[in-house]
Symmetry: C2
Subunit: 340 residues, 2 copies
């Protein structure tokens, strides 16, 4: 089959590799119908040291089951499935609590920008959906693999509820998804911090009541202006760089919550008396256990109430995947869908 | 009047100072019946640079109203009152939300180890209690000024509920109070990390099901042993030093919550992928808005169901306050009450 491999920063190639095969009775092989490029794929795209060995890429996909191991009972050949970015057995203590990203037998996909994918613990991991593989709903279904439900996780962990005031930091696909998820959960006011008008326009359509283009101290001052000096009860941080964390500290109201879903590109950060502690601010978030949310949100996607797939503004073939990375890295595209 | 002043590390003196007077119509003057020394008072006792000017000390007290300003309506001369360690007007947006430590017109007491205290915003700050000033309940009532309700805040922010598994880090008065508060909220298992047997014995009496004397990596390994390798859903950090934060990271279960009430003696700490983020661990806590909790807990103290005053194991006169500091700093005493 053909698959995308990264050989270093800015160096993505599509090559012939061996087809995956069933390795355990609980495995399934899925033919990829749509995959995509994630904002988090851009971190290695900017930083990965050059190597002679390519690294398979991609952790988001929807597809059709081609083959199942002897221990798979919930799925059969031909099922259309959504693959959460985390593998989960569906039975361990963490899965039962809805924290499938910490599954005792789990792991993360990293080979989805390809024609075929081996899915371990297929019964636990995959969710089937009653759609054809040429459905118009494919983009929105694909967002249930990661991006929209990562925004949803941010909002859930931030305890967004009817009447909440929310600041969303970042106008990438996860930031915009956080806006949509906050609106869905009843937020009354949503301040979107971002400076790419095409993106913030979609944010406004999805429920942002205010847009702040400024960053750093200027951005913090602007949010203070908009909130009578206090900041907002909820801050959803969808970037992952330290300046975004510092901005979150600046716009969080005393007693409020900062919920992070941007993968932190730092380890240490201020948490002491003058930042989190003194103001009783809660810091929460992490990798989204999207598997825990799919069943709840799927009906709203199927009946068209939710259209999170609007974050995709470009589609490429699998062979064009390198161009997809470039377009996202150069901010020409918000989020790129890959059609093998 | 006489008051305790700190002139530098290890140097507390009791001296004659001017009586406080009403300065605003919302002030009251309270005669101190009992004050005490806080674990957080030991930070300056260990570190304060020497100075020719003494710093008044103490932020916990119960007493009797001696005089009220013309704007005070809820209190009158002779009322027995509990003073939360934070001043609060009772009317601003934060006070209405129960976050009186962030009151827009607030501040913190720092003159309670004395005979008289001026209380700003007396109507908002003070809570009266129907007891005589020689009541046997004085020690427990005094803990509603800070220490017990700080432990309660830790447990509330940690969302301790029936069935919770909890680790409490620290066997000081706040740690023990956190044990008592967790038990009261229904925690099923409470692991107390502390190595002073006299203290952990009180912790066991108050609900600790396990005591771990080891610290650092050894302590973390011990808690892992006790919890099937997973750690506990809730960790209450009642120390404030970085090693205690690191230990909290080590014993927190994926998806769990670290609630801090020990005043952090550090600003930066790890919060990234390998610590908080990757495991979806929530970090919460801060200075306890004890004013928000007093009305709820007071009846249980008045009828004897709760005896948080058992943390006091030594009583000194005001003139003996320097000896009280020394005894706490040397860990001879768990918590010292001051009787002016």
């Amino acid at each position: 089959m053909r698959a995308a491999l990264m050989y270093g920063a800015g160096d993505v190639r599509v090559e012939q590799v061996p087809d995956p095969t069933i390795q355990a009775p609980t495995d399934a092989i899925v033919r990829v119908v749509r995959a995509c490029v994630c904002g988090s794929d851009l971190h290695p795209y900017h930083q990965m040291p050059a190597s002679e060995q390519g690294t398979p890429m991609g952790h988001e996909m929807v597809g059709v089951v081609e083959e199942t191991g002897s221990g798979v009972s919930r799925l059969r050949k031909g099922n259309f499935v959504i693959a959460p970015f985390a593998i989960s057995d569906g039975t361990c203590q963490y899965c039962r609590e809805g924290l499938q990203t910490s599954c005792e037998h789990g792991g993360f996909f990293s080979t989805c920008q390809a024609e075929l994918v081996r899915v371990p613990h297929a019964d636990g991991t995959l969710v089937s959906a009653p759609v054809a593989e040429d459905s118009e709903l494919l983009p929105s279904l694909l967002t249930l693999s990661d991006v929209f439900l990562t925004g949803h996780h941010a909002a859930v962990r931030g305890q967004v509820a009817p009447g909440s005031t929310v600041t969303v930091i970042g106008d990438g696909a996860v930031g915009l998804s956080s806006v949509l998820a906050s609106r869905r959960l009843g937020a009354e006011r949503i301040i979107l911090m971002g400076r790419h008008t095409a993106r913030t326009d979609l944010g406004r359509e999805w429920g942002a009541t205010d847009v702040v283009a400024e960053r750093g101290d200027e951005g913090i001052a602007k949010v203070a202006d908009l909130t009578g000096g206090a900041g907002t009860h909820v801050v959803l941080e969808a970037v992952g760089h330290r300046p975004a964390y510092d901005m979150a500290l600046g716009v969080a109201r005393a007693g409020g919550t900062i919920s992070r879903v941007g993968v932190p590109q730092y380890e240490d950060a201020p948490v002491g008396m003058s930042t989190l502690f003194g103001k009783n601010i809660t810091l929460t978030g992490g990798p989204a256990p999207v598997r825990a949310y799919i069943e709840e949100l799927l009906p709203e996607v199927l009946d068209g109430r939710l259209e999170p797939g609007r974050v995709f503004d470009r589609t490429v073939t699998l062979d064009q995947t390198p161009e997809g990375y470039r377009a996202m890295a150069d901010r020409e595209a918000l989020k790129v869908m890959v059609r093998p």
